[in-house]
C-alpha cells in the first residue's frame, strides 16, 4: 500500500471519527434544546398537593408578582391598584371565610376530587359562589389578564400572562389548595375581613379622578316609597 493510499484511509477514518463525535455532540445538544421550555429537573416528591402547590408557586413564577406566600405588596408601575393582587386572601373571596370551609376544599383536592362533584351535597353554604370563584380564578391562570392603567397616558403595567400549557388542571388544583392554606385565619378560624367602612368607600368614590355622571351613593337610605 502506498503512502498516498494510507493517507487517504487515515483521512477517511479521521473523518468518520470526527463525524461520529460531532454527531453525538449534535445529538446531545439537540436533545437538550428540543424541548422548550427545557425539561424540568427531576421533580421533587411531594407528600401532599399543598406542598406541590407551594413548590409550583415559587418555581412557575407566581411569587415574582404576587409576593412571598401570595401576600401581595409587589409594586406594579402604573397599575390601577399600585400593587398586584394579593392571593393569600383569595380563600375569603371564594366564600371560604372560615378555616373549616378551606380545610374541606383542601381535603377534596388532596383526595383527587373535583369540587364540582360535591354540588349535590355542598359541604358548606354559598357553595355555588365558591365554585364560581374557583372557576374564575382558574380561568385567570389559564387566560391571563391585561393590567389596567392608572394613568391612561402612562406606561403599560405588567399584565398577568397566560399559563396555559405551563400549568395544567392538576397543578392548578395544587396551586389553589396551597393558596387556601395561606389565608391568614384569625385565632377563631375566620378569614380577615376585606370590607372597607362605608364612609371610607364613599370618600374614595368621591375622590375619583374624573367627573362622572352624578348618581346616588348607595350607602344612603333612599327616601322610603309610599305604601300603595
Amino acid at each position: 500500500m502506498g503512502s498516498g493510499a494510507k493517507r487517504v484511509i487515515a483521512a477517511v477514518l479521521a473523518g468518520l471519527v470526527l463525524a461520529t463525535a460531532g454527531g453525538s455532540v449534535w445529538w446531545t445538544l439537540h436533545r437538550a434544546s428540543a424541548a422548550t421550555p427545557p425539561p424540568p429537573p427531576p421533580e421533587p416528591h411531594f407528600a401532599t398537593k399543598v406542598e406541590r402547590g407551594a413548590y409550583l408557586f415559587e418555581h412557575v413564577g407566581c411569587i415574582a408578582c404576587h409576593g412571598v406566600h401570595g401576600a401581595g405588596g409587589v409594586v406594579n408601575a402604573n397599575y390601577i391598584r399600585g400593587t398586584n393582587p394579593a392571593l393569600d386572601l383569595q380563600a375569603g373571596r371564594m366564600m371560604l371565610d372560615e378555616k373549616a370551609k378551606g380545610d374541606a376544599v383542601v381535603a377534596m383536592i388532596e383526595h383527587g376530587e373535583d369540587p364540582h362533584a360535591a354540588t349535590a351535597h355542598p359541604p358548606f353554604d354559598r357553595y355555588d359562589v365558591f365554585l364560581a370563584q374557583w372557576d374564575a380564578t382558574r380561568a385567570v391562570i389559564q387566560n391571563g389578564n391585561p393590567a389596567a392603567k392608572l394613568d391612561p397616558n402612562g406606561p403599560q403595567p405588567v399584565s398577568m400572562p397566560s399559563w396555559r400549557g405551563t400549568v395544567n388542571d392538576a397543578d392548578m388544583d395544587c396551586l389553589l389548595a396551597y393558596l387556601i392554606t395561606q389565608e391568614p385565619w384569625d385565632a377563631d378560624g375566620y378569614a380577615p375581613d376585606e370590607t372597607e367602612a362605608p364612609e371610607q368607600e364613599a370618600a374614595e368614590h368621591a375622590a375619583g379622578s374624573e367627573p362622572v355622571e352624578p348618581h346616588e351613593q348607595a350607602q344612603q337610605t333612599p327616601p322610603p316609597a309610599e305604601p300603595q
Partner: protein, 203 residues
C-alpha cells in the same frame, strides 16, 4: 244674628279642618318615626351590615331611576348595596379595562363584558342576597341585598345605623352581613319619635 251664627261657623270650620288634617294624614303624610341603634357584633361583623325591617305592610314602588353600583379601581363600590325589590341596578365600569358582571345566586345572571364608561343594567325582581362577581377579576366581590320594603340602612365602621321615615307600627328587625346575620329583634315605632334597638349579629 251674627252672635248665633258665629259659633255654628266655628263648629263647621273646626270640623272641616279636623277632617282635612285626618285625610291628609291618611293620604300621604303618614305618621313616621325612625329606628336607630347599633349591631352588637364582633369587630369584623360590625361594618357594612344591612339592618332592615323584615316585612312591612303594603306594596312599595321601586325607584324610577336606576341605582348605581360602581366598578372602580378593580372593585365594586359600594361593597354592600341594599335595594328595594323591583329596583334596577346600573353597573358603571369606570376602569380602563373590561369588566364582567355576574351572580350565581337565585337563578343568577350574567351581563357579559363591557368596557370603560359603559354600563349594564339589571332589574332585581326577587328578594334575596345576590353575590356580585366579575368573571375576569376574581378579587372583586360585592353583594346586592334585595328587600321587600325600603326600611333599611347600612352600618358604619362602628356598627351604627339609622332608618328614617318608618311608619308607626311594630316590626321585626333583621340584619345581614357578608360573614353573618342577626335578629329578629322587635322594634315599635311611634310617630315623631326615634326607637333605639340593638341587633345582635353573629356567624
Amino acid at each position: 244674628m251674627s252672635r248665633k251664627i258665629s259659633p255654628l261657623l266655628f263648629a263647621v270650620l273646626f270640623t272641616l279642618s279636623a277632617s282635612g288634617s285626618f285625610l291628609s294624614l291618611r293620604a300621604g303624610a303618614q305618621a313616621t318615626g325612625s329606628i336607630s341603634g347599633v349591631v352588637d357584633a364582633p369587630a369584623r361583623l360590625r361594618a357594612n351590615a344591612v339592618v332592615y325591617v323584615d316585612h312591612a305592610n303594603g306594596h312599595f314602588a321601586a325607584p324610577s331611576a336606576p341605582v348605581s353600583l360602581d366598578q372602580r379601581g378593580m372593585r365594586f363600590l359600594p361593597r354592600v348595596l341594599p335595594v328595594l325589590v323591583g329596583t334596577t341596578v346600573r353597573f358603571d365600569n369606570h376602569d380602563p379595562t373590561q369588566h364582567n358582571v355576574f351572580s350565581p345566586d337565585n337563578g343568577g345572571y350574567d351581563l357579559g363584558m363591557f368596557g370603560q364608561n359603559q354600563t349594564a343594567n339589571h332589574r332585581f325582581d326577587r328578594a334575596g342576597v345576590y353575590t356580585q362577581l366579575c368573571h375576569v377579576h376574581p378579587e372583586m366581590i360585592a353583594f346586592v341585598i334585595v328587600l321587600q320594603n325600603p326600611y333599611y340602612a347600612v352600618t358604619d365602621a362602628s356598627g351604627n345605623f339609622r332608618i328614617p321615615n318608618v311608619p308607626a307600627g311594630s316590626y321585626h328587625m333583621l340584619a345581614w352581613q357578608e360573614h353573618g346575620h342577626g335578629g329578629p329583634v322587635d322594634a315599635v315605632v311611634h310617630a315623631g319619635a326615634d326607637t333605639s334597638v340593638h341587633v345582635p349579629v353573629g356567624h
